[in-house]
Symmetry: C2
Subunit: 331 residues, 2 copies
């Protein structure tokens, strides 16, 4: 499949140039070419800075969420590759208003290492900084429930929304960190792919989805799924997804959830809504109230064909924060 690029080695830089030219009313450059900040992030009353970052290939994540009520500064990595500690460190410095900084990142070995080092260095500079590691992928939760090796999926988008809203509301670094940790523990996601993505510098799909099958439990970096199923109708795909996600919610318990159905890049929005149609029915049948729902391309994997579904179990405080309008995505 031909790609609309110039040089596979230059896709990240050229994307960033285009992004900046398009959104320079909203974002600003910094002294580091891989760190961008939100204009107007400094309010009269200093508040906690929110940082995130990760590899490129997930638009609108991460840089698209540098918006009022979400991320203040972003660290941009190469394609599917964590930004370096130096990049995260500069993002932390840029976000700091004296009230501390929360850095939210996905649970991947290189991201963890780079964020860890950046946090250490920032603290040496006297910046108060905490980090929350998103690990919502149920496909990689250990049998005993241990999530230390679970990957982050689209749940992170909701963490940014919660952290951003809490920061705008004047909450402290400790409060926002606790909120995000709680929200993360309440969040479960799973990814399903019908075709793998194509990395422009490679030019062929990352893995092969056998015709007539789908991959369950795929990651965000072009990694194959953990199990393969025969392709089936959308409603049955929804059933399978929800069975895995709802397994962790105690049956019969009064609950409400926020739902995110995110296309992985090349799947039509029509299909996403057809899937959501069944998901909404399943939640209703289970007596679970849907607090808010988001259907769209929120966290992609280049041009992967497929979808990730995220459920975040709500409590009153989380519900209030997710409901706060973040800045328009329409521009």
């Amino acid at each position: 499949m031909p790609k609309m690029i110039n040089n596979p080695q230059r896709v990240v830089d050229e994307m960033l140039h285009g992004f900046y030219k398009c959104h320079s009313d909203r974002i600003a450059k910094t002294r580091h070419p891989r760190v961008f900040v939100r204009r107007g992030r400094k309010s009269r009353t200093p508040r906690v800075g929110i940082v995130s970052g990760g590899g490129t290939g997930h638009l609108p994540a991460f840089i698209g969420y540098v918006r009022k009520g979400m991320i203040d500064a972003v660290a941009v990595g190469n394609l599917f590759e964590a930004p370096s500690a130096e990049v995260f460190l500069e993002a932390i410095r840029q976000a700091d208003q004296g009230e501390g900084v929360l850095c939210i990142h996905g649970n991947y070995p290189l991201d963890n290492r780079c964020v860890g080092e950046a946090v250490r260095l920032a603290r040496l500079e006297g910046i108060r900084v905490e980090h929350v590691c998103a690990n919502d992928d149920v496909a990689t939760i250990a049998e005993d429930g241990d999530r230390s090796a679970s990957r982050g999926l689209a749940g992170e988008v909701l963490l940014w929304k919660i952290a951003g809203a809490a920061s705008m509301a004047g909450k402290s670094l400790e409060e926002i960190t606790d909120l995000c940790r709680r929200a993360n523990l309440n969040t479960r996601s799973i990814g399903v792919a019908f075709a793998a993505c194509i990395r422009p510098e490679v030019g062929v799909p990352n893995f092969e989805v056998v015709e007539g099958t789908m991959e369950f439990g795929i990651g965000h970096h072009g990694d194959p799924g953990l199990s393969s199923y025969k392709m089936r109708p959308a409603n049955e795909i929804a059933d399978l997804i929800m069975e895995k996600l709802l397994a962790v919610y105690p049956e019969g318990e009064e609950a409400s959830v926020t739902v995110m159905v995110s296309g992985l890049g090349a799947t039509t929005q029509m299909e996403l809504y057809i899937l959501y149609n069944r998901i909404a029915d399943i939640l209703k049948a289970r007596g679970i109230r849907t607090s808010q729902s988001f259907v769209g391309n929120y966290f992609t994997s280049l041009d992967m064909q497929g979808v990730s579904v995220t459920l975040m179990k709500m409590d009153e405080e989380l519900e209030r924060l997710v409901a706060v309008d973040a800045e328009s995505l329409l521009g």
Copy 2:
């Protein structure tokens, strides 16, 4: 390519069910299953109603733009097929607050016929109604500049934004109609495809893009392009697009434009920004100011691989109206 659907004959209805379940805080059903309206569209001071509609397969168009500051009521058709006159008529009725209704639609034979009939019937019912026909596709402008057979492309999104903002500002039906006609005449688009879309009820691509080539001047309905080019780097694609779009702007004239780069469904946002990076440079080199720019999936053709680029030449009034924030797309 497997599609996440249940029954190819039911995709439109199931998509609408899912859409409604997701957005029932914002949209409401009507007595016609193919007409949806925006909740809270009736302000204390009656204002002009804005209607649009068309075939399904273009999400977020059309129903996704039933939002504050854009469309008040939408007529939903089958896949790539205009809604009937009856559906448009009901949307017009629903949008009417006594100040008249403007119906904006793409220039396609069936859409024109159905809107025309609906307008005639609505007037018989005593509703003041006008319509504006979007025909921004430069690939289908006649040699002598006649646009009567030119197709509508993504330019329509900007017309909704202008009409919505003008209605909210209390302008009259005549004023908004004039504004939209002027905006439409100032608008030029072109579409480029690298691979055709797949209609779920057919299951194979609508047309074949020969390997190593791209189709220039494609329509929004899976129609092949008017000319075929050898595939080339993104910058050269941008050069070719802008050569065609800028041909209509007198050289050297002081001008400013709004730019929309819309993915057609399966193209990564990374590629869209790489293309925009060059487009912004070309405009700058030509001395044309970019008033606003939009890069994203604004008007798709199912899972077509490709992009449409729209330029709307601005004047002071249009610029003010496009700049009015429409309701958040993030929810």
